[in-house]
């Protein structure tokens, strides 16, 4: 097991290293002059020289990469060109908000998804299965931004039950709880749909195995067979999908944050892209990639814990 964890961690570090090269190269990939691209054509010569030097464009690429990497490892990812602050300071207040929404939506969507998936698989072919599968399939295809707008229109603008946008931590503003309901619902829904689909198909695969038939023929109660024998095995492939889900939830929060005007990383990244604030874009991509890699590593280890065969592959 230790060997497996060491191997996977090594692979993850390699992936992070490759990603860091890609993220660094984002600046060099800008067509034309990167300084003009970041600051606009009407920049003064002094300002141009300052940024040119700051981006270390007067040095070779390799030197630039390693000095960028050394700075990044110290948490210094350069200065935001739109806020004129360190990118780490810009990100510090935003990362917790995005992580909060992603993790909360994850915690909500997993149990519901598994529950609906099992219900659907157990009732295979019956109307209940058809309804659950249909809803899950349709929900998985809905554009998240559109759905967010739809519920905002209905529950905030038409019915006036919930505040239409904004975000405050509940301990700062008591309205915070109400502000969270719609974004969380919207984010969780996609997660519930895909977990339902995955659990259903994995459950159907397991139910037809011989050992389930054996358990049934021994006269074990149906519920016991389903929840004790089948579900335990059916959840193994679901775990791999769950790792990806958290990454997708972070990506999904881009849209939800944009619709509900939540000051998280998503809205920051959109603003940074529109104003070509490349250091902030780099920092956002790096942060999201790091979280995804760590989650993937955690899922792989969890996977090896529940399915010992994986360790020996």
């Amino acid at each position: 097991m230790k060997g497996y964890i060491a191997k996977r961690t090594g692979q993850m570090l390699l992936v992070v290293f490759l990603l860091s090269i890609f993220i660094f190269l984002l600046v060099s990939m800008i067509p034309g002059d990167p300084v003009y691209a970041m600051l606009g054509e009407e920049v003064s010569q002094e300002e141009y020289d300052r940024v040119f030097h700051e981006l270390k464009l007067d040095q070779p690429v390799i030197v630039r990469y390693f000095s960028w990497l050394a700075d990044a490892l110290r948490g210094d990812l350069g200065e935001s060109t739109q806020f004129h602050m360190k990118t780490s300071e810009v990100l510090a207040s935003r990362i917790p908000i995005t992580l909060f929404f992603s993790i909360a939506a994850f915690i909500i969507s997993v149990p519901f998804g598994i529950l609906f998936g099992v219900i659907s698989a157990v009732n295979r072919g019956k109307p209940l299965d058809t309804v659950v599968t249909l809803i899950a399939n349709v929900t998985a295809c809905l554009p998240q931004f559109w759905f967010a707008l739809l519920i905002m229109f209905v529950f905030a603008m038409k019915l006036g039950w919930l505040p239409s946008y904004g975000f405050d931590w509940p301990w700062v503003n008591s309205m915070g709880w109400k502000q969270m309901i719609m974004p969380l619902f919207c984010l969780s829904l996609g997660g519930i749909a895909s977990t339902t689909r995955q659990t259903r198909s994995s459950m159907l695969e397991v139910i037809r195995q011989d050992y389930i038939r054996t358990a049934r023929s021994k006269g074990i109660a149906n519920n016991k067979v389903i929840y004790l024998h089948a579900l335990k095995n059916a959840l193994i492939p679901v775990i791999t999908i769950l790792g990806m889900r958290l990454g997708n939830l972070i990506a999904g929060s881009m849209f939800v944050e944009s619709v509900f005007n939540i000051p998280g990383m998503g809205s920051l990244m959109v603003k940074a892209i529109q104003s070509r604030d490349i250091p902030v874009v780099q920092a956002c991509v790096l942060a999201i990639a790091l979280v995804s890699c760590l989650v993937n590593l955690a899922t792989d280890i969890l996977y090896a814990v529940v399915d010992p065969r994986v360790r020996f592959e």
Binding site: P143, W146, A272
Partner: protein, 284 residues
């Protein structure tokens, strides 16, 4: 002869289910709208009419008008073009690059395989939409750029699938025989391995068009994709969100179109997958 027989059999299996037929008709309808937009659309999609802005649906404007007085229905019809063109082009780009890289990785093995596999792991570590956003920051948007960006950000799946295919096919006797005959590597790869792994590629392509259209709509909604005045569904939702109280149809119907097209494409993709995979025939 045998090929046409197989193709006939394939279509027969695909369209054996009513659901697949319905979805195919819906997709064809969208393709028709995209192709014949100038003849179908009642108005010029880009022509503003300041005497008639933000009107609710009426007989003159079936879905009302937007904040510039442009006809929403006409803009939706023209928006079909953007969605379909980007959806299909991006999938072609992803498939072309991904298949070749996957084939090279699987065929040659060794350090080439390691390098490509690790690179693709790195690409997959970043969620598709984030990667696409980062690339639009650098290269800008527009139909051509978006197709390439969305293609690049979704190619990792093809690499992985194709690599797996090659690893299996490589073991087959006919590949060994081809090698012994003195065939060049690239000839073996493109003439023998590629045609034998065509069906999972087709399945993956049909299933990816939908998600690519969804991604394009998302980017356009965020203001990073197709921008004004070109009509695209995502940017229409984005423009319309500020006028939900005046004409909710303006923001909401383009989103419905995205959903219907994506659902139909995905279900059609599932139909194709089931028809090509005999184990899945007759299952939900």
């Amino acid at each position: 002869m045998k090929d046409t027989k197989n193709i006939k059999k394939f279509f027969k299996t695909v369209f054996a289910r009513k659901v697949t037929i319905i979805n195919a008709i819906i997709v064809l309808l969208f393709i028709f709208l995209a192709l014949f937009a100038p003849f179908v659309a009642p108005y010029d999609p880009d022509k503003p009419d300041f005497a008639a802005f933000l009107q609710m649906p009426s007989t003159a404007h079936f879905l009302g008008t937007d904040n510039f007085g442009r006809d929403v229905l006409s803009r939706i019809i023209y928006g079909t073009r953007v969605s379909l063109i980007i959806g299909v082009l991006a999938v072609v780009v992803a498939c072309a690059i991904g298949t070749v890289l996957g084939m090279i990785a699987g065929y040659f093995g060794g350090w080439i395989d390691d390098l490509i596999t690790r690179l693709m792991e790195a690409v997959r570590a970043v969620p598709q939409i984030i990667l696409a956003m980062a690339l639009t920051a650098v290269f800008g948007s527009g139909i051509k750029n978006l197709a390439i960006i969305l293609g690049i950000s979704s190619m990792a799946g093809y690499v992985r699938m194709m690599r797996g295919q090659v690893l299996t096919i490589k073991q087959a006797d006919y590949i060994m025989a081809g090698k012994l005959q003195g065939n060049k590597d690239f000839r073996l790869m493109f003439r023998h391995i590629l045609p034998n792994s065509i069906s999972p590629i087709i399945v993956m392509m049909t299933q990816q068009v939908g998600s690519t259209i969804l991604a394009e709509a998302g980017l356009s909604f965020l203001g990073l994709g197709i921008s004004a005045p070109t009509a695209s569904w995502g940017s229409m939702v984005s423009e319309g969100r500020n006028y939900l109280m005046d004409n909710p149809v303006f923001a909401l119907i383009p989103g419905v179109c995205v959903a219907i097209l994506v659902i139909s494409l995905n279900m059609l993709g599932d139909g194709v997958r089931d028809a090509l995979d005999p184990r899945l025939r007759g299952e939900a």
